[in-house]
């Protein structure tokens, strides 16, 4: 059988050869691959190098330990879903990745989190520079009370970029990437707050993309959206992983199953199981994962 490229679709009707005497259809070079030839997960996902390394991370809020010995690798151009019940530590871990926990005085962190080769908790790291490599999208869309254009350009402006052409290009590119461009291109100067909930969330994604981050962190980005807006964001996640690496926290198991390549299940601050999404949701190895994803928890 000829090698097929990942985007291969059969454009023209193919002539299906007549069954042979024993009723078996012979392989035909123009036939689409058989089901057994198509793993749900692209092989490139399995071979991709890690861009984000979480190593032995422990975290305390004051006296209370919230993360225990977390080890997690996130491969480049994949989507990693973090799931688990409320308070399991998944959002805490997400916030560790762009050092947002620094803002909380009583937090103590041990272990290493590396983006590429760089330990983001190394003392010499410039947190502002670090956050340029991380885009963050929150549960509730939080556009600034500014125009659509200024919302997207914001990250670049605080980097001191003033050239109109550079800003225009970034705004257009980011809005196209977030799927919002066609809806707002004629009203870029209107307030971002005038958009619908789903549009506001896509505006926030565009704002995060404008600074060309390496990793996009999403904390329940669809939990306040209706199913249609949710499905737009999910489609968008699928598109975005071509250029970015995405870590998404979600309470919606179906969403984790739909959008992610890998899923990590957390419970009480511990990483219980991590694996290929299709495996984890059909045949998890750990009983606790099974109970959680099938709603038997507690």
């Amino acid at each position: 059988m000829t090698e097929l490229d990942p985007d291969h679709t059969v454009a023209e009707p193919v002539s299906i050869p007549e069954p042979t005497v024993d009723g078996q259809k012979p392989d035909h070079p123009n036939l689409p691959p058989r089901m057994t030839d198509i793993p749900l997960t692209d092989a490139s996902v399995l071979n991709a190098e890690s861009i984000l390394h979480v190593e032995e991370v422990n975290l305390w809020y004051g006296e209370k330990q919230a993360l225990f010995d977390i080890n997690l690798e996130v491969a480049r151009h994949t989507v990693m879903a973090l799931i688990g019940p409320s308070g399991c530590g998944k959002s805490t871990l997400l916030r560790c990745i762009n050092r947002m926990n620094d803002l909380i005085g009583s937090v103590r962190i041990e272990g290493r989190i590396k983006v590429g080769q760089d330990d983001i908790y190394a003392p010499e790291v410039d947190v502002i520079e670090l956050r340029k490599r991380m885009g963050m999208v929150f549960q509730k869309s939080n556009p600034f009370p500014k125009s659509i254009y200024e919302n997207v350009a914001y990250g670049l402006r605080i980097q001191g970029i003033r050239e109109r052409a550079v800003l225009d290009e970034a705004v257009e590119r980011s809005l196209i990437a977030s799927g919002l461009w066609d809806e707002v291109k004629d009203r870029l100067q209107e307030s971002g707050l005038g958009l619908s909930g789903g549009q506001q969330q896509r505006l926030c994604i565009a704002r995060a993309l404008a600074i060309k981050p390496e990793v996009l962190l999403m904390d329940e980005p669809c939990s306040a959206l209706d199913p249609l807006a949710t499905s737009r964001i999910e489609e968008l996640i699928f598109e975005l992983k071509r250029d970015f690496t995405i870590v998404i926290v979600t309470h919606n198991m179906q969403q984790a199953a739909r959008v992610s390549d890998f899923t990590a299940f957390f419970w009480m601050g511990k990483l219980i199981e991590v694996g290929l999404t299709e495996k984890l949701f059909t045949n998890p190895r750990v009983r606790m994962t099974e109970d959680y994803i099938s709603g038997r928890f507690g």
């Binding site: 059909t282 099938s294 709603g295």
Partner: protein, 224 residues
């Protein structure tokens, strides 16, 4: 924690068991039809088949509804997916019983052609495979499911043995060709039922362990 969904899954399992019970009754009646040369029991087999067909439609719909409405994961998903595959196996077993019973009606008019207890053994072994495959499902017994899969070879061997016996008989006495050819169809149907019991046992292993044990030769290619 009791969940509404838990009850729905339990109902699904019960309905599948009820269907399996009907099919087992058909198998027992089919054995008796041959052994006792009873036309009345053959009639009863085809009556039961209608109710098995109805069960198939009901269970198909129930599985589709659960998949659509509950979006199950993990073992729940495997249970429903496997039910969707076990149901047609059971229904086919019912059809094979009808085929055997139909041939029995013809054979009952004539002198028996096979000596010994070949037919009883074939029916008995096959029935045992179906019963144990269903038991493995009910009790979540993976070892039993594996034993059923293994026993299929025995039934196949018995089938080949009876087939040769019939062939020998036909060569020796052309007058028994008609009866023997009906019997060949009978034993082929028993052999198919044993295959179907094997398929059910394979589904049981998938539900319990999440491993697909079918077509092993494709999954463990011989070392080069």
């Amino acid at each position: 924690m009791t969940r509404h969904f838990e009850n729905e899954l339990r109902d699904l399992k019960f309905s599948l068991l009820a269907m399996a019970g009907q099919v087992e009754e058909m198998i027992a009646l089919t054995q008796q039809t041959l052994q006792e040369r009873s036309n009345a029991k053959a009639e009863r087999v085809s009556q039961l088949d209608k109710s098995v067909d109805e069960s198939e439609l009901r269970l198909d719909q129930a599985c589709i509804d659960l998949l659509a409405l509950r979006a199950p994961f993990a073992s729940d998903l495997r249970l429903i997916a496997s039910t969707l595959k076990i149901v047609p196996e059971l229904e086919r077993i019912g059809d094979h019983c009808c085929n055997i019973a139909r041939r029995a009606l013809i054979l009952n008019l004539q002198q028996p052609v096979l000596k010994g207890d070949y037919l009883q053994r074939l029916g008995g072994d096959t029935h045992s495979m179906v019963r144990r495959a269903v038991d493995a499902f009910v009790n979540g017994d993976a070892a039993l499911a594996r034993a059923v899969i293994k026993d299929d070879d025995q039934v196949d061997a018995l089938y080949v043995q009876i087939y040769s016996e019939l062939l020998r008989g036909m060569l020796a006495d052309p007058l028994c060709i008609e009866r023997s050819s009906h019997l060949i169809i009978v034993i082929k149907n028993w052999e198919r039922i044993a295959d179907q019991a094997t398929n059910i046992a394979e589904e049981v292993l998938f539900i319990l362990e999440g491993v697909n044990v079918k077509h092993r030769y494709l999954q463990d290619p011989p070392q080069a």
